[in-house]
């Protein structure tokens, strides 16, 4: 008897919590299909989630008022380049730290640990000044290159590589493979989980980057999505329908990817946490 009561309570609590969490998302998506006049008016009632009228006007308006495709492409370019080059640069460095003996290793290890505790915001201002002073601003590359070398990624790879059994690498070396060949043919295929995790964590942190593009981009040609929606929000007239449509468009691909790969997502994120 008590068991069913607690189970029932459990389910009720979960349902209520899930509803609370889902509500803003539903508000966003549903609202994007509502006519402008109804969005605020319905916001306080259940009608916010079950509209009486549907319309595509907001989406039409977004594409007319805003160069959404360009911002999407900017975000894809910036994040894609960052993730791919980050995987290469950071995994190589971590492998060197974990497995190789070379002069300067302790120094670099120390550097990684030291920069690990420096949050981005602590260096945003000096970086903004320094890069602007040499004229490097307002393009996509300045939003990628400074973030490629990432101490967190290096550390995640490092822990993983250090935990790999050495037999495979030694076997390859005995066969005469060079260091790079060993890395590429033996280590990388066995580190798929680490690569996936680092890619996911990097994406999670940098996809929504707002501060840096705010400081470093002026016109819309290099502006990524998170900044674009914030500037769109400040552009009169304030039409909530348009903004919600923009937001839905912006988050839909990531949301879709997430729902499809959620188990890998979650496993990767959890792995980093536990090992932390």
């Amino acid at each position: 008897m008590r068991r069913t009561l607690t189970t029932g309570l459990r389910h009720a609590a979960l349902l209520v919590s899930a509803a609370a969490f889902l509500a803003p998302v539903a508000f966003l998506v549903v609202g994007s299909f509502k006519p402008e006049g109804r969005i605020l008016a319905d916001a306080g009632s259940w009608r916010a989630f079950f509209p009486a009228h549907w319309t595509l006007d907001n989406y039409r308006d977004v594409f007319a008022r805003v160069d959404f495709v360009r911002f999407l492409l900017n975000s894809l370019l910036i994040n894609g380049a960052m993730v791919l080059s980050g995987l290469a640069v950071n995994s190589l460095a971590a492998y060197a730290l974990a497995r190789l003996r070379w002069a300067g290793r302790p120094f670099v290890l120390g550097l990684v640990l030291a920069t690990l505790v420096v949050p981005f915001e602590a260096i945003a201002v000096p970086l903004f000044y320094g890069l602007s002073a040499i004229g490097w601003r307002d393009d996509w590359s300045v939003q990628v290159v400074p973030f490629v070398a990432n101490p967190l990624s290096i550390w995640l790879f490092y822990v993983f590589f250090a935990g790999l059994p050495r037999e495979l690498e030694e076997a390859a070396r005995v066969d005469g493979a060079g260091v790079l060949r060993t890395f590429l043919t033996v280590v990388v295929p066995n580190a798929r989980a680490a690569f996936a995790t680092v890619a996911i964590v990097t994406l999670l942190f940098y996809w929504g980057m707002y501060l840096w593009p705010l400081l470093m981009t002026a016109g819309p040609h290099a502006r990524p999505l998170p900044l674009a929606i914030a500037t769109f929000y400040t552009l009169p007239p304030l039409r909530w329908g348009d903004i919600l449509a923009f937001g839905t468009l912006m988050v839909a691909p990531v949301l879709l990817l997430f729902i499809l790969f959620q188990r890998a997502f979650v496993r990767g994120v959890a792995a980093t946490g536990i090992k932390g």
């Binding site: 903004f128 000044y129 602007s132 002073a133 040499i134 004229g135 490097w136 601003r137 307002d138 705010l214 400081l215 470093m216 002026a218 016109g219 819309p220 500037t231 400040t234 552009l235 009169p236 007239p237």
Partner: protein
């Protein structure tokens, strides 16, 4: 056949042998009407000539100054820059703008309103021009005012005195359910506070800074005039007259009978209140009304390699057709007398005539024309916020004066070094 050959040989060569110059222009992303007019003007300019091709870049208003500073640092300034009026002195001092004197025709300069010319002048030279100037006043709901038996002033000479204004507020409050009768637009971005309320200080005999020397604010911003003016403003809050106006519709919905505002409010207010909308001067806190002026200005930057082409674009913008289109979109005061005379809103008998009168008859005092202006404004805003929350007025103003004076000292009182250094060679550009 022969004729064609002859023509080919003798016909004059094409007017421009080289590609059009890409003229970058930065414009603040304001009202949709303003953006529309700008785009149309740019298209028309591009179509009318082929020496220059304008590339218009809309910069979000919230980070406008930051973007300008960063671009200047990177050597990436546009050719033509729009900026909020009182920032011109700061930009000139920092070496970002070139003088316009020799680049614009004299008849155009003579046609500009004196307030516009004054706003754009620093150290004796003209650095910016404007398509429009601003109007600051008190919007009123005629029905509510008449119901409270209040006299409605319509020209600067009839402005309410401070004491009269207090009585007006009290009378309006008696007829208002929550006694909140005054909308002060406190949610507007910070610069509004300086623009809208420093005239009260000036009317009371104080000022934001000693304009004669420009070397201190002490005695002016924390002097008796300023203190008494801000104490009176504070009393409006204390007595509950000020509507917090969370939704921005206190005035248009009739909840507040009075709204401190400017020309940009006209389109919306007119739509909402129609004939019940009345425009009045601000109250005067001393013997004479003081109101504010200054709005978005245009200048040519030191990064421009073809200043004469840029000047042609500015000339184009200042044609009556475009000034009238822009001011029809945003309700501002046309900056040239020619356009002013033709404007349906501003000619004698027009609904916004008061704004033009204020500018022409010298009631409008521009904000301090000093490179220290950004700091002055920021310090004043901070003081205003404290005062409005009940802080002791003298202390708040004294704190602002300290900050301003310290900044003036830090910057050696802004000596005009950049001005001398950055003058371009005569005849630069084509």
């Amino acid at each position: 056949m022969l004729l064609a050959a002859a023509l080919a040989v003798w016909a004059p060569p094409p007017a421009r042998a080289h590609a059009p110059y890409a003229l970058t222009v930065w414009f603040h992303a304001g009202q949709p009407g303003e953006r529309r007019v700008m785009r149309a003007a740019v298209d028309a300019f591009n179509a009318e000539q082929d020496a220059a091709r304008v590339r218009l870049v809309l910069i979000p208003e919230g980070s406008y100054n930051g973007q300008v500073q960063a671009a200047a640092l990177a050597g990436d300034l546009p050719d033509v820059l729009e900026f909020d009026g009182p920032y011109v002195y700061n930009y000139v001092w920092e070496g970002k703008l070139i003088p316009l004197g020799g680049l614009l025709p004299k008849r155009l300069l003579r046609d500009l309103l004196p307030s516009v010319v004054r706003q754009g002048t620093y150290a004796g030279r003209l650095y910016s021009v404007a398509m429009f100037d601003s109007g600051l006043g008190l919007w009123g709901n005629r029905r509510l005012l008449e119901r409270a038996g209040v006299r409605i002033p319509t020209d600067p000479a009839g402005a309410w005195s401070a004491a009269q204004f207090d009585r007006v507020l009290a009378a309006l409050a008696r007829h208002d359910r929550d006694r909140r009768v005054l909308d002060l637009k406190l949610d507007y971005p910070g610069e509004w506070l300086t623009y809208a309320f420093s005239p009260l200080i000036e009317s009371a005999g104080g000022d934001l800074i000693d304009r004669r020397t420009g070397r201190t604010a002490r005695g002016f911003l924390d002097g008796p005039g300023a203190v008494s003016a801000m104490r009176r403003v504070q009393s409006w809050f204390r007595r509950g007259y000020v509507d917090p106006d969370v939704r921005g519709d206190a005035f248009v919905s009739g909840r507040a009978a009075l709204a401190w505002g400017g020309h940009w409010n006209y389109p919306r207010y007119h739509r909402a209140l129609g004939r019940d909308l009345v425009l009045m001067p601000l109250p005067r806190f001393g013997p004479r009304l003081v109101t504010d002026s200054g709005s978005w200005n245009w200048g040519i930057t030191t990064a421009c390699r073809r200043p004469r082409l840029a000047a042609r674009f500015l000339e184009f913008l200042l044609r009556p057709r475009w000034i009238l289109a822009m001011t029809a979109a945003n309700g501002a005061v046309p900056a040239t007398r020619t356009a002013l005379a033709r404007s349906p809103l501003y000619r004698p008998g027009g609904p916004l005539r008061l704004f033009a009168v204020q500018l022409e008859e010298g009631y409008a005092e521009p904000r301090p024309r000093t490179p220290a202006y950004p700091v002055i404004s920021s310090a004043f805003q901070q003081a205003f916020r404290a005062i409005r929350n009940g802080a002791p007025v003298r202390a708040a103003l004294r704190r602002a004066t300290t900050v301003i004076d310290r900044n003036l000292r830090d910057n050696d009182y802004y000596p005009p070094i950049a001005v001398v250094r950055r003058v371009p060679a005569a005849g630069g550009g084509r």
